[in-house]
C-alpha cells in the first residue's frame, strides 16, 4: 500500500491517520500534503465533523521529518518547505474544530510539534515524546517554540528543546504535555471517547475560545475586546436559548451549532 493520509468517520468524529509505517509515519512530502488536504476539508463550515482525532498507523504517531528526504536540501528550499508545512500548523491551531492527538509509540521532532498543535493529547503509557531537532543540528519547528512553553513553562521547555531530552508519557502527563494517559492498546479508544466529549460540547463557544487561544499571547485589553465581541455574538445564538432551557429543565442540552 502506498503511503498516504486516511480519513475515516465515526458519527461526527473524523479520524485522520498518517500511514507510512515503514518510515514510522515520518512527515515526507506526500504525508505533509495529504495532511494539509484532509484538514483543509475537515475545518470547513460545510463538513459535518465536530471533532477530529489525529493518529499514526501501526502503533506509532509520527517520527518527525523524513531524514531521507532532507539530503541535499538547500537553505531556501528548506525555507519553502517549512512555509508549506506551516499551512498544516495553521489549520490545526486556527481551525475552529477541536483536534485530539492519539499518540502511540513515538512523537519525535515534527511529530512532537504536530501533537502539541492539537487541543488535547491522549497518549499510551509507553509512548515517548522528544524535540529531537537538535540531534540533527536543527532548531525546533512547526510551532513548537510557541506551543511547548505554554504547556510546560519556560524552564522545562528550554530543557526539552535545548538538550533534545526525550520524555516518557507518564512524565509528559505530569508536565502537562499529555492530557489523558491510556493503557497501551487502549489509546485509540480513549482518544475517541475524548473526541466525543469535544464533539458534544457546545460548538460555537469552543470555536471562539479556540480562536482566542490561537491569538495568544495578547495584552489584557485586546483579550477583553476578543471576549466582549465573541460573547456578544454568542448571546444571539439558538444554542444559548437551548442551553438556558436545558439548564432550567435539568436535562442535557442538544446544541445544533446555530
Amino acid at each position: 500500500m502506498e503511503p498516504g493520509v486516511d480519513l475515516d468517520r465515526d458519527g461526527d468524529v473524523a479520524i485522520v491517520t498518517i500511514r507510512d509505517p515503514a518510515r514510522r509515519n515520518a512527515l515526507s512530502p506526500i504525508i505533509r500534503s495529504g495532511l494539509v488536504e484532509v484538514f483543509s476539508t475537515l475545518m470547513t463550515e460545510t463538513d459535518d465533523s465536530r471533532a477530529i482525532v489525529l493518529r499514526g498507523a501501526d502503533g506509532t504517531f509520527c517520527s518527525g521529518g523524513a531524514i531521507d528526504t532532507m539530503e541535499g536540501i538547500g537553505s531556501f528550499s528548506g525555507r519553502s518547505r517549512l512555509q508549506g508545512v506551516h499551512r498544516l500548523v495553521q489549520l490545526l491551531v486556527r481551525g475552529e474544530k477541536p483536534v485530539v492527538a492519539a499518540v502511540e509509540g513515538y512523537a519525535f521532532g515534527g511529530g512532537f510539534s504536530l501533537a502539541l498543535a492539537c487541543d488535547h493529547v491522549v497518549a499510551g503509557r509507553d509512548a515517548r515524546f522528544g524535540a529531537s531537532f537538535g540531534k540533527l543540528g536543527l532548531m525546533p519547528d512547526m510551532g513548537l517554540l510557541w506551543t511547548l512553553p505554554q504547556r510546560v513553562g519556560i524552564g522545562r521547555a528550554r530543557r526539552l528543546m535545548m538538550l533534545s531530552e526525550p520524555v516518557g508519557a507518564e512524565e509528559a502527563h505530569a508536565l502537562g504535555i499529555v492530557g489523558t494517559l491510556a493503557e497501551p492498546g487502549a489509546v485509540q479508544e480513549a482518544a475517541m471517547k475524548k473526541a466525543r466529549a469535544f464533539a458534544d460540547a457546545a460548538p460555537l463557544p469552543n470555536r471562539i475560545t479556540k480562536a482566542a487561544l490561537a491569538a495568544w499571547p495578547l495584552a489584557l485589553d485586546p483579550m477583553l475586546d476578543h471576549e466582549s465581541q465573541g460573547q456578544g455574538v454568542l448571546f444571539g445564538t439558538e444554542d444559548l436559548q437551548e442551553g438556558l432551557k436545558a439548564f432550567y429543565e435539568k436535562r442535557a442540552p442538544r446544541f445544533a451549532g446555530r
Binding site: M70, K135, G137, L138, W146, G153, I154, P217
Partner: protein, 258 residues
C-alpha cells in the same frame, strides 16, 4: 584570568563564573557587576567555550542587591543601579550560549532574578529562593516580572513576588522553578554535568532557540516566520549535515558550530 570579585575558570568547553563576594553573601554590588559584565562578555566571545555556569562562592549563590547602600541612595542612582543590572541580564538572556545557574544557599532579590534569567537552574535541595524586594519596600527587578510567570505560572509568581514567600530547592523543583535538583553542596558538580550536555548540543541550534525565547512573547505567526528563516539557515549548516550523517550511522554527532 581571576579578578577579586569574580573568579573565572574554564573546564573543557565550560566556563565557570563564580561571584566571589562572600562577606556580603555575594550581593550584586557595584564592584561585583564591574567584573561580572566583562567576564560574561569574554566567555560569550571565547570560541572554545560552549556553555557557562554561573555560581556563588562559599555555598551561597547571591543574596541580592547591596542593601547597605540603599538607605542613602537617591532615586536617580537607584534607577542607574537597575539599568546596570540590565546590562548583565542582557548578556545572559540574549547571548548565544547556554547559561546554567548552580544555586546553593540563598538566591534572593536581585540574586533570584539572576538565577531565573539563566537557561537551566540547578539547585541544592536546601537552597532558598525568594523575591525579597517588598520586604524592604521595593518592587521585583532583575527581569523577574518577565521571567518568573513564564517559569512557574501567574498564580505562583504572584505569591512569590507579592508575599515574598521562600521556596526551597525541593519545592522549587516540584513547581518548575528548578530544573535539576542536587544534594546539599552538590549543585556545582550537577551543574557541570548538565553544562557538558549543553556544550555537546548543536551550538547554532542552541543559539537560535535562545534567541527565540529572548523575543518572547510572540504570536504564532511571528514564531512561524522566525522558525522558517532560522531553520533555513541551519539546514545549510555543516552541523546539520553532520547530524543527519550521525543519525543514519547511529552514532553521536560531533557539532562544530558551523
Amino acid at each position: 584570568m581571576s579578578g577579586s570579585m569574580v573568579l573565572v575558570e574554564r573546564r573543557d568547553a565550560v566556563t565557570i563564573l563564580t561571584i566571589n563576594n562572600p562577606r556580603q553573601r555575594n550581593a550584586m554590588s557595584g564592584p561585583v557587576k564591574a567584573e561580572l559584565i566583562p567576564a560574561m562578555r569574554a566567555a560569550l566571545a571565547d570560541a572554545g567555550c560552549r556553555a557557562i555556569v554561573l555560581t556563588g562562592a562559599e555555598g551561597c549563590f547571591s543574596a541580592g542587591g547591596d542593601v547597605s547602600r540603599f538607605s542613602t541612595m537617591a532615586p536617580e542612582k537607584g534607577r542607574q543601579l537597575v539599568r546596570d543590572q540590565r546590562e548583565f541580564l542582557h548578556l545572559v538572556m540574549r547571548g548565544d550560549k547556554a547559561v546554567i545557574a548552580a544555586v546553593e544557599g540563598y538566591s534572593y532579590g536581585a540574586g533570584f532574578g539572576l538565577a531565573m534569567a539563566c537557561d537551566h537552574i540547578v539547585a541544592a535541595r536546601d537552597a532558598r529562593f525568594c523575591a525579597a524586594f517588598n520586604k524592604i519596600g521595593l518592587m521585583p527587578d532583575g527581569g523577574l516580572l518577565w521571567t518568573l510567570p513564564q517559569r512557574i505560572g501567574a498564580e505562583r509568581a504572584r505569591e512569590m513576588m507579592m508575599l515574598a514567600t521562600v521556596v526551597d530547592g525541593a519545592e522549587g523543583h516540584r513547581i518548575g522553578l528548578v530544573d535539576t535538583l542536587a544534594e546539599p553542596k552538590g549543585a556545582l558538580d550537577a551543574a557541570l554535568a548538565k553544562a557538558a550536555l549543553f556544550a555537546a548540543a548543536a551550538p547554532i541550534a542552541v543559539a537560535m532557540t535562545k534567541s527565540a525565547f529572548a523575543r518572547w512573547p510572540l504570536n504564532l505567526d511571528q514564531f512561524l516566520a522566525m522558525e522558517a528563516d532560522g531553520q533555513a539557515l541551519l539546514l545549510s549548516s555543516e552541523d546539520c549535515r553532520e547530524g543527519a550523517r550521525a543519525f543514519l550511522e547511529k552514532r553521536a554527532p560531533a557539532f562544530r558550530g558551523r
